[in-house]
């Protein structure tokens, strides 16, 4: 990384760490801001960036586009909830196990789908169907309590990974976000990442170079699954509730794909930029709706804008918003 890049990254990180204290100070100084609301928004950006990064690892870097990525999110969410509620585990212990479950599901889907040679839109559709199967199962089997969902007992405290102060939740999400960025950055620096890009660009050529295409694709889906599940576990721990629709609804799959595609699939910072844009559009329309009575029902507008952005980006800006920032893509970038 260049010296300028390093300064840029360090500056961003310091700013992200100071952010909650800055907005609190601004609130205390009498500025018209709602500190806890802004901290919450920051948390949402980090969290959305992280689950978007989970999609980006397999969908962007390796080119295996999934339409059912929520299956990992939901596996992690339910894993985290069931281990605590049914088996009385400590959440700190349950979290890595939930992530491992996600990796297992990713490995299983990859092993089945890639062995059958599914790629492109077929892979996208089969992941969609798998997520549906998981949703219906979660709705029907006893250990998820069906449509009732699972409620985790609220008991704030560091030992229980529950926090009264939103700052700690923000820092947790920031940690995830940074971890996601680091993983993506590693992919641009390692042979594993280079092999993934080779597979994305031309699978047959990659195979001819001696790359074990099947094994690499399964590996990246397991990695992506672990990340998605870690995100799902975080979500459950924040809201202390999960039901089949939250865990496996198609909306979240679309959200994961959208933030990554809009921000820039296959780039390191793409999901973060996409998450920032999505959250900003969301909050602005929400604010408009609450301030101007005539615009009470404009909520869907944010998704309309986002759908239109997706179309435009696919058509005109295949590297997403990230490419607008004029910074050269990493070594893993498309030629």
């Amino acid at each position: 990384m260049s010296r300028r890049g390093l300064v840029f990254v360090a500056g961003g990180l310091v700013l992200a760490i100071l952010y909650p204290w800055l907005v609190r100070a601004a609130g205390a100084a009498g500025l018209p801001v709602a500190p806890n609301y802004l901290i919450n928004v920051g948390m949402l950006v980090c969290f959305t960036a992280f689950i978007g990064q989970s999609w980006n690892i397999s969908g962007g870097f390796a080119g295996q586009m999934s339409f059912g990525h929520v299956v990992f999110f939901g596996t992690g969410a339910y894993g985290m909830a069931i281990l605590q509620v049914t088996y009385g585990w400590n959440p700190w212990l349950a979290w890595p196990v939930a992530a491992a479950l996600g990796a297992g599901v990713g490995w299983l889907i990859g092993a089945l789908a890639f062995r059958a040679g599914l790629k492109g839109s077929y892979f996208a559709l089969i992941t969609l169907a798998v997520a549906e199967v998981f949703r219906i199962l979660a709705n029907s089997v006893p250990f998820t309590r069906g449509g009732l969902g699972l409620l985790i007992k609220a008991d704030p405290g560091m030992a229980n990974l529950q926090f009264r102060d939103p700052i700690w939740v923000y820092y947790l999400a920031l940690l995830l976000c940074v971890a996601g960025l680091l993983i993506a950055w590693r992919l641009t620096r390692t042979r594993f990442g280079a092999r993934l890009v080779a597979i994305r660009e031309n699978e047959d050529a990659a195979r001819a170079l001696g790359i074990d295409v099947y094994a690499e694709k399964v590996k990246v889906l397991a990695l992506s699954g672990a990340m998605g599940a870690a995100g799902g576990a975080f979500y459950v721990q924040k809201y202390l509730y999960v039901d089949p629709w939250i865990a496996f609804g198609v909306d979240k799959s679309v959200e994961m794909l959208l933030v990554s595609m809009v921000g820039g699939a296959g780039t390191i910072v793409g999901p973060l930029i996409g998450a920032g844009a999505l959250t900003a559009i969301n909050e602005i329309t929400r604010m408009l709706a609450s301030v101007v009575p005539a615009l009470k029902n404009v909520q869907p507008l944010s998704l309309i804008v986002y759908g239109a952005m997706l179309i435009l980006i696919v058509a005109r800006l295949p590297d997403g918003l990230a490419s607008l920032f004029g910074r050269r893509r990493g070594e893993a970038g498309r030629a």
Binding site: I126, S140, V254, N297, I304, Y306, G307
Partner: protein, 290 residues
């Protein structure tokens, strides 16, 4: 064990539900099976067509069956323009791009509908909606029988058009060998758009036949997306007989699955069929390998 009469009724009801799936899927067979355009907006376009039928009835008092020619023509035009103006132009001919663009369209359509029509579900109230026909132990709603017969007829017509007519020949030529088709003087983009338009016109027909017994809301297309893709993949890409058989099989599976496994778990059958077919026999039941 279950009473055979109940099974019989379940199979008949499943067949009728399957007829609806055939209706929704037959357009997709043309778009996805023949042209390999992954139309993820299929469900959302059905939803829009259903709203068109609803408003024709609500505002102008046009019966959904009478509205058939209007909605079909309108859907065709909409589909043609949509392909010509957006999908074909923006996708640069890449599979994944079409998938993403049609996903973007689905998001836009769904939320425009939510914005304009709110999330409430709307129904049409026609006199014959409640008419019941008794077949053995089964009581079947007349509109569903009509939609079933229409679905089979539609498959037949499309199959003949594709196999016999000049247009069908052009569509198949374009699907198989784009450059070659261009060289012999076929306007490729025009034919693609026509075929896409026909596929959406089928959705228009489906909407008219569905509305007497279904409700419409901005999300009512969602349920059909996976079903339609499953039908096409199960029947075999591009086969109209396959689409008919696939839709009926899925209808029966769902009905019997609901009977044996309960309402919730019964839905799992469709997704499982889809996964298994893709994994084990991607050419489908009636498809030929390409």
């Amino acid at each position: 064990m279950l009473d055979p009469a109940i099974i019989f009724a379940g199979v008949l009801n499943g067949l009728l539900a399957g007829g609806i799936y055939v209706l929704v899927a037959v357009g997709l067979t043309l778009i996805y099976g023949v042209l390999h355009i992954i139309n993820f907006a299929h469900g959302s376009l059905l939803m829009l067509a259903m709203y068109a039928v609803f408003f024709l009835w609500r505002l102008l008092g046009i019966d959904p069956y009478v509205a058939l020619p209007i909605v079909i023509a309108g859907s065709f035009a909409f589909g043609y323009v949509l392909y010509r103006g957006l999908i074909g132009r923006l996708s640069h001919g890449r599979d994944e791009n079409i998938l993403l663009i049609t996903l973007g369209l689905a998001i836009v359509f769904d939320n425009v509908a939510l914005l304009l029509f709110t999330g409430d579900s709307q129904t049409i109230d026609v006199a014959y909606a409640g008419t019941i026909v008794q077949v053995g132990a089964a009581f079947l709603p007349l509109p569903k029988i009509i939609s079933f017969l229409a679905a089979i007829a539609l498959c037949g017509v499309l199959g003949v058009v594709m196999a016999r007519s000049q247009l069908g020949k052009a569509i198949r030529a374009v699907a198989r060998e784009r450059q070659g088709a261009r060289l012999v003087g076929i306007d490729v983009e025009h034919v693609f758009a026509i075929a896409y338009g026909i596929g959406i016109a089928c959705l228009g027909a489906a909407a008219c036949l569905l509305m007497p017994t279904f409700y419409v809301s901005p999300t009512s297309g969602h349920a059909f997306v996976l079903i339609a893709f499953t039908t096409v993949v199960l029947g075999g890409m591009g086969s109209f007989v396959g689409a008919a058989a696939g839709g009926l099989i899925i209808g029966i599976t769902e009905s019997l699955g609901g009977l044996l496994l309960g309402e919730q778990l019964g839905q799992i059958g469709i997704s499982l069929i889809f996964i298994l077919i893709l994994l084990l026999r991607p050419t489908g039941l009636f498809g030929v390998g390409r």
